[in-house]
């Protein structure tokens, strides 16, 4: 627990840095006013709107205002929706969470058996097939995969709905799109982790005890191979959330990713800041959880 708290403390400067980075990213350049008004607007109109929204204050003042608002949970208003940016972001969270979660499941379902199989059948044709497939999965840009899936599984053979969020059927194609890249990464990882573990002495011991090969592989080896995989999986959280930007846009999935893409395009800075901040917290939290899980999986590591 002490360890956990220590780590939690460590995140405070990180969060502060993130606010600064995000603030600088969105405020330093770019003029949201120009995007909010049509081509035909006059300079005068622009200037009055700019003044009214507080963009004419010096940057440090803006940052300080921003920070103190943030502490009170106020991220400002979305220009686009004229509502509280943070509320808007929170509203989108479940959809993205659902998608990310389903993608992770897809990734797990694909990668665990394939990773184990290719490690066990190392250098066989099957291994080559799986590792080749994994590289292919990594090499395919996800928007491309998404469009292809829609074309073949939704338009040509109308198995799945094209887009939108609804029941489980709606989740399948986006989850595959987002999950494939991660599955590919995890398959490679599980394979190499398993290969290393399978060469360990205790695997020989397990075999010498007369255990079935399946037990040796799936229990003795996999439990150990899982340890590094969990850490890397946590690092994938960031990739996963990043991937929703693309996947949600392709599938018109009403989540945080799509919100962010549009907010960035329209310079809806309050939303960009709120969402980025929330994502950062989410990523940091999942890393902490992964760290705890890691400790749970590996009895060798003791809590201080």
């Amino acid at each position: 627990m002490k360890y956990f708290l220590q780590n939690l403390l460590k995140t405070i400067p990180v969060l502060l840095l993130i606010t600064l980075i995000v603030f600088l990213l969105v405020r330093v350049t770019g003029d949201p006013v120009s995007l909010m008004l049509p081509e035909t607007a006059t300079d005068e109109e622009r200037e009055s709107l700019r003044e009214a929204l507080g963009f004419n204050d010096p940057l440090p003042v803006q940052y300080f205002t921003y920070l103190s608002d943030l502490v009170r949970g106020d991220f400002g208003e979305s220009f686009r929706y004229n509502t509280d940016a943070f509320a808007l972001v929170l509203e989108r969270l479940p959809a993205t969470f659902e998608l990310a979660f389903a993608s992770m499941i897809v990734a797990i379902i694909i990668s665990i058996p394939l990773g184990i199989l290719s490690a066990v059948k190392r250098n066989s044709f099957l291994d080559l097939f799986i590792t080749g497939g994994a590289v292919l999965g990594k090499a395919m840009p996800s928007f491309w995969l998404g469009i292809m899936l829609i074309l073949f599984l939704a338009v040509n053979t109308q198995i799945f709905p094209v887009s939108g969020r609804g029941g489980l059927l709606y989740l399948v194609l986006p989850a595959i799109t987002l999950g494939t890249g991660i599955a590919a990464e995890m398959t490679r990882l599980i394979r190499s982790s398993m290969l290393e573990i399978l060469g360990q002495d205790f695997i020989r011991t397990a075999r010498s005890k007369g255990l079935k090969e399946a037990l040796v592989v799936n229990k003795h080896a996999f439990r150990n191979a899982l340890i590094p995989v969990v850490t890397i999986m946590a690092l994938q959280t960031s990739t996963l959330v990043g991937g929703t930007l693309i996947t949600e846009t392709v599938f018109a999935w009403p989540g945080l990713g799509q919100l962010l893409v549009q907010a960035v395009n329209l310079r809806d800075m309050a939303v960009v800041q709120a969402a980025t901040f929330l994502i950062a917290i989410f990523v940091i939290l999942s890393n902490l959880i992964a760290d705890l899980t890691y400790r749970l999986l590996d009895p060798r590591i003791k809590y201080d």
Binding site: K10, T11, P13, V14, L17, I18, I21, V22, L25, V26, V28, T29, G30, G132, V135, L136, K138, A139, M140, P141, S142, F143, W144, I147, M148, L151, V155, L189, S192, S193, E196, P228, I232, L235, S238, T239, V241, G242, G243, L245, I246, T249, L260, V261, V264, N265, R267, V272, T276, I279, A280, I281, V283, I284
Partner: protein, 301 residues
């Protein structure tokens, strides 16, 4: 004393050199490594000699000959072996020229990220203390924001161009190298010959360049190679969001993204750049995996 230290270090270096010497031999035995290297070589040659290989100017439009299919399909001909796009530009020539920018973006942003990451990683690992704290917290902050989001915001703000794209791709992915270099530095720092060198008062710069750098470099090369692949894909994703390479420059990512509208009607417009990306990334990953096996069996990711 000095000589002993140097000898140990040199011995390690020589050992490393020896391993390098064996590369060729071992490459021939690794089929995937060989495939990877060949792909990378072919693509690189294609990029370097693009003007000599390509039949057309990649930007030359020809409205009359727009959306011609590849030569084997009905209506296609050998004048445009892989067909033409929506403006009548030769797909093959564009792929050949596209390799230039795709590789340029991939390689130079990785080099940039590598230099930044190496610099901060060395400082954090070698000097430790407050430097380590500041640098590692910054690294944590960067890691907490998904790369693509980071790039999206910066590119939207700065406006996409080849230079900004490289800067942004490099400026956001340095953290991976910083982390890796830092942890390697930490372990090398504790080796006896580095300690002794320090004890007899060798300068930091000398210690870093002479003893630490050579030990870090192999993991570094492996990660850098694999990151070239990631960057090429990232460029494509940014093109999808409209913030990648901009015309009249041409990259595979741009072609793929522009061509996605034609998937159902003129498949060749997007399919060939898609294949080019996939094959190249495949080659780079194979090469990277093989380098990992050879240079540094320790690293897993």
């Amino acid at each position: 004393m000095t000589s002993t230290i140097e000898r140990t270090a040199i011995a390690e270096n020589r050992n490393y050199g020896k391993r390098l010497g064996k590369l060729g031999k071992r490459l021939l035995k690794s089929k995937t490594g060989l495939v990877g290297l060949s792909i990378v070589l072919v693509v690189s040659l294609m990029a370097i000699f693009a003007p000599f290989i390509a039949m057309y100017d990649p930007a030359k439009t020809d409205v009359v000959h727009r959306l011609l299919p590849p030569f084997w399909a009905e209506g296609g001909n050998m004048d445009y072996p892989l067909g033409t796009d929506n403006l009548g530009r030769d797909v093959l020539s564009r792929i050949i020229y596209g390799s230039r920018i795709s590789l340029l973006v991939g390689i130079s942003s990785v080099i940039l990220a590598g230099i930044i990451g190496m610099f901060f990683g060395l400082i954090a690992g070698y000097y430790g203390k407050i430097w380590d704290f500041i640098i590692m917290r910054t690294v944590d902050s960067f890691l907490a924001i998904p790369n693509i989001l980071f790039m999206l915001i910066i590119l939207a703000v700065l406006g996409p161009s080849l230079t900004t794209l490289i800067l942004v791709l490099g400026g956001t992915s340095w953290v991976v190298y910083a982390r890796m270099v830092r942890s390697e530095t930490l372990s090398v720092k504790e080796r006896d010959y580095v300690r002794s060198a320090k004890a007899i008062g060798a300068k930091d710069f000398r210690i870093i360049t002479k003893y630490i750098l050579p030990n870090v470099i192999s993991s570094f090369i492996v990660i850098a190679t694999l990151n070239v692949a990631t960057t090429i894909i990232m460029e494509a994703s940014l093109s999808f969001l409209g913030l990648g390479i901009q015309s009249p420059d041409v990259s595979w990512g741009l072609m793929l993204s522009d061509g996605r509208q034609y998937v159902a009607t003129s498949w060749w417009v997007a399919t060939f750049p898609g294949i080019a990306i996939t094959v190249t990334v495949l080659g780079v990953i194979f090469l990277g995996d093989w380098l990992r096996d050879i240079l540094d069996p320790k690293i897993k990711d």
